[in-house]
Symmetry: C2
């Protein structure tokens, strides 16, 4: 099958570069470490590394469109306007930088969670669902929204920052400056914080005995204990699942979606969180009896979702 | 100028029916009381009243498209699936009912706040803003969302129920069953509740002295006192404005809008609430320095917004 497009996903630690065919299968791939070098102009070191990787996969052939997924708020013109997890890329004009490296090639840049949403819509867990939300659970929460079968990008390209929806204004401080953002409760950081709070409050005695210091308990410890059936750890997971459901109910009220696809790095915890969120969601959705059930499902694509989605996006735009 | 379309807005107390020309001017109008009669099939009495009003304005001429705005969750097929403020219309197939009255005429049905959003986008305060949110402040909060210049309707047609976004899960109970929905804080009901709480807590001594009973203080009393410059009443308005800004910041994070149009019945309070919300919004928006300022403006259309927007919607679809 002929190659369709190339896709690039720039993460905080690595850069994934691949080529997909028309069915979405990965036909070639390579990987680089993300350089964290402050350059003038910003993003130049990252663009050079991407360019090397593309040379490896494509040679001089500039006929395929290339999609780039980037970790932050991307403008419609391909500028990374705000990137708390890639400070060296803040303000980088990735479309311009890549064109300088490979004149004649077409580049399309977008937010990485938006790319993941495109992958799931075209060939993954959201096929046939024109109104859905992609939720990427990692340290924080990223999002990609589809409405009427179209990616919602917004005025500046910044739509889908769902992790910064405030769900408890008296809640814990978020690096964004607000209090009680959704990602303080329903992400990896949320699991870790709620686990620590439970440990300090004496609600995880067996885990504290095992680890020694309630302050040292991490999200992974709770997830592992919950998987082994610990009732006290399962109670923490249930609480995180409740917060996950709350944000999904909000997104349903606003966008009227019928499916939520959960992806991102928190895969292990997600297998426990998804059933917990399902248990709480139905009672939270306004007019639930008038709607189809809101399905919460796992992402089809794993860590290549961003790069595959970027390639689809480039092929479709 | 030739007539463009007819529009109907069904409210809890009255039904507004009008004809607009191509510039959006109202060329004819009439009004009826909303019948609250439970019928089989549901909505039959309301449809009869609308039909009489259309006969008055259009006679037998079925050439103009007719838009209907209805107070509740409307399916894409024109069924009022959930209508807490028009119980007699719950489950009514308004498209079907109207077609039976006026065969050959084209009917388009939508949620009333969605219709108001269309009116503001086509000819009001949101012209040229392809990504904006219409917020209708009344007893509750209604909403209409535009993304990429298109009305967001969602899977079932129910998008825009922004008043039921939960912003404080330990907050006051909402009739929808959840706690701390946005409309518990930033609507007419919110002003009334926060005013009563402030009065009972002794923070509105002058108003309590005037009215006699802290439990009897209504939202309008606070609004009036705030307009007269009462510092204690202004503090309540400021708090409501803070909540209004919080929900707008959430919608900005999710949808990346650049304009919010405030309409609905709470016009007098809105003239105080809008400046208060503006004061709080900027500090709440993630990545504010990377975006254009989010403008909060008053609706151009007043109480005819729903009917005018319904007419535009019918003409455009």
């Amino acid at each position: 099958m002929p190659a369709l497009a190339a896709g690039v996903d720039v993460g905080g630690t690595k850069i994934e570069v691949l080529i997909i065919d028309e069915s979405g299968q990965v036909v070639e791939r390579t990987r680089r470490a993300t350089p964290h070098v402050v350059t003038t102009p910003p993003g130049a070191a990252t663009a050079s590394v991407i360019s090397e990787a593309l040379l490896e996969l494509l040679g001089d052939d500039t006929s395929l469109p290339v999609g780039l997924g980037l970790p932050g708020m991307m403008t419609h013109d391909g500028v990374l306007a705000y990137a708390p997890n890639l400070p060296s890329g803040n303000g980088a004009d990735f479309t311009g930088l890549m064109r300088a490296h490979r004149p004649g090639q077409r580049f399309v840049c977008a937010n990485d969670a938006d790319c993941a949403a495109v992958a799931e819509y075209v060939a993954g867990s959201a096929q046939g669902h024109d109104d859905f939300v992609m939720v990427t659970l990692g340290t924080g929460i990223g999002g990609g929204l589809f409405s009427h079968g179209q990616l919602v990008r917004g005025r500046s390209g910044f739509a889908g920052e769902i992790g910064h929806m405030v769900v408890d204004p008296r809640g814990p401080r978020c690096p964004c400056g607000n209090r009680g953002c959704w990602e303080r409760f329903a992400s990896g950081a949320g699991v870790a914080r709620l686990a620590r709070e439970a440990a300090i409050a004496g609600r995880l005695p067996m885990l504290v005995e095992e680890i020694g210091d309630p302050e040292a308990i991490r999200g992974e410890d709770v997830t592992r204990a919950a998987e082994l059936g610990s009732a006290e750890a399962l109670a923490v997971v249930e609480e995180v699942g409740w917060w996950l459901a709350l944000g999904i109910a909000n997104l349903t009220a606003i966008m009227d979606i019928d499916r939520v696809v959960i992806g991102g790095g928190l895969t292990q915890a997600a297998s426990l969180l998804i059933p917990a969120a399902r248990r709480h969601l139905e009672g939270m959705v306004e007019g639930a009896e008038a709607r189809p059930p809101i399905e919460i499902v796992s992402a089809h694509f794993g860590e290549q979702a961003g790069a595959i989605g970027a390639a689809f996006l480039a092929a479709r735009s």
